[in-house]
């Protein structure tokens, strides 16, 4: 297969089309603008639909409509726009609609800046709108992994009838790396529940259950799905972890920096390793069954995933945290120092 250089944002758009996505809705926001731009050029050629929506609120609701009509549909955005999409995501979860939303995370809160960040972790893992909401959250760390996860995102989304979020960041979106693109697949036929016109009895896609016992039954069904996902869909990768006396947990771009830092401290004789969650929700708790002496979590945030790591370890080992915020990406040297400090018991930037 031919390797080509592609920007993360463009690669994800192309991979979505190749995965059978035939409807894209979006609104301009940096650092993900190459996605709608690419879709505007290429989606019509694939026989699909591109609409520049008037807002992220409208965009996610267009995904609602198209996905409910049985077509693989997606949107992409960054933090401020993702906040606006959470309303629609809650309705999609309540209505059991699939769909893929990419959040190319940037610095927050508020307008923040356009630099890379992982500050939306809580929002994507806990905050997909009001109510008891969850969706699978995939966190690629290379452009190739973005491409590889795109068909997975659509398949998982349809299997569980819940939206899937791909949590990337400004670096992954803007960076070019060599990628091998998969062969395009044909879009799957619309599922039975899709509203395509009531040739038989009418179908209804709705999230309203006025009677408490009805809504409870609905949410219990969602909870069974959530549990099934927790049991079956945890994904993570370990790097030089087997003999590690200190394990560093990081995802996305932060995991790449940690990988470099692990190599640095290994070269100096310190047995460090990396646990890289690929699913942020469900959090890969199975990666934490065996525990070394020390743990360190590195995030481009004020400390969010670290809470899941502490929950997964249930107090079995101390967990340090090293985070940079505001779009600052730590250097491998800085992280290497944080790993060394973690081993001697200091917690840097706790």
């Amino acid at each position: 297969m031919k390797r080509i250089l592609m920007k993360g944002n463009e690669a994800l758009a192309e991979a979505a089309i190749r995965a059978g996505c035939r409807a894209y809705f979006g609104y301009p926001i940096t650092p993900q603008n190459e996605v709608p731009e690419y879709m505007a050029r290429h989606m019509p050629r694939a026989g699909g639909v591109f609409v520049q929506a008037e807002s992220e609120i409208a965009a996610i609701n267009m995904v609602h409509g198209a996905s409910g009509a049985g077509v693989r549909a997606m949107a992409s955005t960054s933090g401020p726009g993702f906040s606006l999409m959470t309303e629609g995501l809650s309705y999609m979860i309540g209505s059991r609609l699939p769909g893929v939303v990419v959040n190319v995370m940037r610095g927050g809160p508020g307008l923040g800046n356009i630099a890379p960040s992982q500050g939306d972790y809580f929002q994507v893992t806990r905050g997909l709108g009001h109510g008891d909401t969850h969706g699978i959250v995939l966190a690629p760390s290379t452009v190739q992994e973005i491409v590889d996860l795109m068909p997975v995102a659509f398949e998982l989304s349809e299997r569980y009838r819940l939206p899937v979020v791909i949590a990337a960041d400004g670096i992954l979106g803007q960076m070019m790396e060599p990628v091998t693109l998969p062969e395009p697949i044909a879009p799957p036929p619309p599922p039975d529940w899709a509203t395509t016109g009531a040739v038989g009895s009418p179908r209804v896609i709705s999230s309203i259950y006025l009677a408490p016992e009805d809504l409870e039954r609905h949410v219990l069904s969602l909870m069974r799905t959530y549990q099934e996902i927790r049991e079956r869909e945890q994904r993570w990768e370990a790097y030089r972890a087997d003999d590690a006396e200190v394990l560093v947990v990081a995802y996305g771009t932060a995991a790449r920096v940690v990988r470099s830092a692990v190599d640095r401290v290994r070269a100096q004789g310190l047995a460090a390793g990396l646990i890289r969650p690929i699913t942020l929700w469900p959090f890969p708790t199975t990666a934490f069954e065996r525990s070394p002496r020390r743990w360190l979590v590195v995030e481009l945030s004020a400390g969010q995933m670290v809470e899941d790591v502490r929950l997964a370890l249930s107090g079995r080992a101390p967990v340090g945290f090293h985070g940079r915020v505001g779009g600052v990406v730590p250097s491998p040297a800085e992280v290497a120092e944080a790993i060394r400090s973690a081993v001697v018991g200091e917690v840097v930037r706790a």
Binding site: I57, N61, M62, A69, T195, A198, I205, S206
Partner: protein, 253 residues
């Protein structure tokens, strides 16, 4: 003539034979019937997809025998856009109240209109929030008392009633825009024609079709149903003039 009489007394095919949950005197039932009649007369039941909004009519899918998606508050035109773009040969309509369309959903309806989405919008205006218990709506009349304008709507403080179809009629993407009322048999007859015309604008690929239907809310207006009809005639129709504001099938429009 006999044929017409039969049609008036029979239940439209697209209207499900179940009791409505609406309050006594509410005109949603009448308007549901007008939509069902239009779907039947155009022969589009099997290729029509409705989008329900948030408000009293949220359960419209229990009454119309077509596929439905239920949209977040105000977002029905965006959901309808998503459906229509991926299924361009289907007929897609939204059914929205005044709070949904004229307050929280102004961006969605305005831009669906600007894009000339081939959808039909049934806009029910009763000048009040019904489902939440009688709060001031964007279409509440000046001086009208509601639970959130207890001293009467003060235009200086809360603005005046928003006339939405006039706004939308000025947008190029709108092919048909009309306002009618359902307060008398004659007006209902005109409303029926308007609803069908709003569907035709979509089916003939001309643009977005919208009908605003002046409606009543006896419970939240705190009036008996017959007086509510009279109040609508006396107060709403002067504030919201009836008629076809735009029809691209007519020359000069």
């Amino acid at each position: 003539m006999i044929k017409d009489m039969v049609e008036v007394t029979s239940r439209p095919r697209s209207l499900v034979d179940v009791p409505l949950h609406y309050c006594p005197g509410c005109t949603h039932g009448t308007i549901h019937r007008l939509v069902a009649e239009a779907i039947d007369s155009l022969g589009i039941r099997e290729r029509t997809i409705g989008v329900a909004s948030v408000g009293c009519s949220v359960f419209i899918y229990n009454y119309l025998d077509v596929d439905f998606q239920q949209a977040p508050h105000g977002r029905a035109p965006a959901v309808a856009t998503g459906i229509k773009r991926v299924l361009p040969d289907r007929v897609v309509f939204t059914y929205q109240g005044d709070g949904d369309l004229a307050s929280i959903g102004t961006a969605e309806i305005l831009h669906a209109a600007a894009r000339g989405e081939r959808i039909t919008v049934i806009f029910v205006n009763n000048a009040i929030y019904g489902m939440t218990g009688g709060q001031m709506a964007p279409t509440t009349l000046s001086g009208m008392k509601t639970t959130t304008s207890p001293y009467g709507r003060d235009v200086r403080q809360a603005g005046g009633a928003l006339r939405v179809v006039e706004l939308l009629a000025g947008i190029d993407g709108v092919a048909y825009a009309a306002r009618e009322a359902v307060t008398s048999p004659a007006r209902i007859h005109r409303a029926r024609r308007a609803v069908e015309a709003a569907f035709r604008a979509q089916i003939e690929d001309r643009g977005l079709g919208i009908v605003e239907l002046l409606s009543t809310c006896p419970v939240n207006w705190k009036l008996p149903p017959v007086e509510a009809v009279a109040w609508c005639e006396a107060n709403m129709i002067p504030a919201f003039p009836l008629g076809v504001l735009k029809d691209t099938t007519r020359s000069g429009d």
